[in-house]
Symmetry: C2
Subunit: 388 residues, 2 copies
């Protein structure tokens, strides 16, 4: 198996970019990534995007972006897997390079929420769940996460306050990320006092939807520019795995089984166990997702993931740092771009360039994003390539 490396990264700040179009956002990230890759020329573009057809009245986004970026003639396709679109696009780029038919693949995640507001956005997001059996009843993704959290709290007798460590950690880390949507810390008191979004989810249990674009350039190590100034990061494990779309179809809705399976698959390929990763960029769209993702990855037993948020274990100096540049909660959740942001941030960590959010000595990272409640799970292991 050929090594696949991340030769370049680029990102825009995450936030409300209602004055910047979808294509312009994507272009900013692309230009940065290609420059970071020493000008490598891509032959293929894979775009992770979920909502442009709905919110920007724009399908055919990959070709639009290839065109706008001056890349006409290359291969292009949009990869959609709801919130996992960015991770699935990385997977597409990875497979394309692994096939030997593409030397350099550009992967861009881009999402624009602020072209629309309010119920249009809720309607668009609800298309990720089962249209005939869930969305039609008005079950939004936030409401679904609330039901899941309530069940978890009931089943395992966990108080709401036990989840505070997740957003507190995310915000503490995001405070050092110049591209994060929220660059400020929060207090346990603020968490407790926050308004209810959908009972029991408080405001700080829910990651904010946001605009943003992130890009990575994938290639084989022998094609890298010789003067590349960073440690080279390879993708040592890659997986996209599915579960049932609806929670009600699962034998145990308190287990994210596709996340478990996806981590198992990437670790097998990377020849590691999960504890050998130095950080885990998980999908903390809701604090309940963070707890259950830690369980699915094997870092805690079923119903015990919240304990890791109690005593600093998920902090930068902890045994398993998560959300190291703010996670979805503080960096923001730009939908189909999120998975690519995770890759960009993991590469910053592995290059030792994560500033005040640096995980000391990070050499291996796991990144994971979800479509729906872990209905689709894209997981990748990135590690510093040892000198050959």
């Amino acid at each position: 198996m050929t090594d696949i490396v991340i030769a370049g990264i680029g990102q825009t700040p995450v936030g409300e970019h209602w004055d910047i179009s979808l294509r312009e956002l994507a272009l900013s990230a692309i230009e940065a990534a290609i420059e970071d890759a020493g000008g490598l020329k891509p032959q293929a573009l894979y775009v992770g995007n979920m909502l442009a057809p709905h919110l920007s009245h724009q399908a055919h986004v990959a070709t639009l972006i290839a065109d706008f970026a001056g890349l006409v003639g290359i291969e292009a396709a949009t990869i959609e897997a709801a919130g996992a679109s960015g991770g699935a696009a990385i997977r597409a780029g990875y497979l394309a390079v692994a096939s030997g038919q593409i030397d350099v693949a550009l992967v861009v995640g881009v999402e624009k929420f602020t072209d629309q507001i309010g119920s249009s956005v809720d309607a668009a997001l609800s298309t990720a769940s089962d249209g005939d059996y869930e969305a039609v009843h008005g079950l939004t993704p936030v409401a679904q996460a609330a039901l899941l959290m309530r069940r978890y709290m009931h089943e395992f007798d966990v108080p709401h306050a036990a989840f505070a460590g997740f957003p507190l950690t995310a915000h503490a880390n995001g405070a050092c990320n110049p591209n994060a949507m929220f660059q400020k810390t929060i207090t346990p008191e603020a968490y407790q006092k926050a308004g209810v979004v959908s009972d029991p989810l408080g405001m700080f249990d829910v990651a904010p939807y946001a605009d943003g674009a992130a890009a990575v350039v994938l290639t084989r190590p022998e094609l890298m520019p010789p003067a590349f100034p960073h440690p080279l990061v390879r993708i040592s494990g890659s997986s996209v795995t599915t579960d049932t779309l609806a929670l009600h179809d699962r034998p145990d809705m308190l287990v994210f089984d596709a996340a478990r399976l996806s981590v198992e698959r990437v670790c097998q390929r990377a020849r590691i166990t999960p504890v050998q990763v130095d950080l885990f960029e998980l999908y903390d769209a809701y604090s309940i997702f963070a707890a259950m993702s830690l369980e699915a990855a094997g870092f805690a037993e079923r119903g015990q993931g919240w304990r890791l948020a109690q005593d600093g274990q998920i902090g930068l100096q902890g045994s398993m740092p998560i959300s190291t540049l703010g996670g979805l909660k503080a960096r923001g959740n730009p939908g189909g771009a999120t998975g690519v942001y995770q890759a960009v941030e993991a590469v910053l960590q592995l290059r030792g360039k994560a500033g005040g959010s640096q995980v000391p000595g990070a050499r291996r990272a796991m990144i994971q994003c979800f479509g729906g409640p872990a209905s689709t799970v894209a997981t990748h292991v990135l590690e510093v390539k040892r000198e050959s």
Copy 2:
């Protein structure tokens, strides 16, 4: 380079299936394809779909279908490239198997237009063109094709009647295809007398939008069931290529340059010249597209493609048969499923199972679908694998 073969095919009839849901349509095609492949178990599902988020309020379609088909746990992603989605999904499956990480890939194209009617469908289809510079002015894909055809007729001094051979051939061939939407021939008089859709496009210049699903199973030859009862069809060339999204950005809008480049790329990989294919399933969404596709593929000079429709050259016994099972015009145009229908039909031809539409002795086929006016072009060469 490993050989990639098409181990199984399945399709539903094309038509107005307003009583069958998106997932049920997809399942019918999947079950047929897996049975045809002797029960091979897929590890990955790539779904070509364009309009479900708009017209069925359903994103995350690949995981929905994997779930409904009892394939939970496999990899899944939706591949979108407007009208080229089906071809781009085949490309994704091809690259996945070529990478060595996936043994068996299932590719499904599925589209449902009839969940909505009228202006909703026009609005959804218009998302394939540039939302900020084309669709916003009310330019639908049909209107765009009409402008292109008018320009072509003016530039090359071609009368409207000169295009009649395209729909006549398509309908003659579709009459023998039990899955075609229109299984009847038309006359030159009917073509001339047909109502105008968008001047100069008459009713028979425009392929009908329709519902349908088609599926192919891709694998490596050594994984095929030993008792496979058909000649084995390999994919000997595969390409997705982009042009500008908008016609007005092209140096010469009367040339489908991405189609030219895409054919060049697949032929190079298959080590053939275009004249060595026995049939060409081109993207006759509009008769003008058929003429310009023949030019782009090198079968006619710029402005001369319409001449091939004059004297039977594109018929089943002609020098370059097209639309052999009805093409988009008579089989129908189920959007993101179209490219997969083309593959299924080409395999039927290469197996010698195309019934009354059989191209005598067909051993090699080229299939091609477009997103927008050849803004994205997916082209594949399929051929009967020689015994090793």
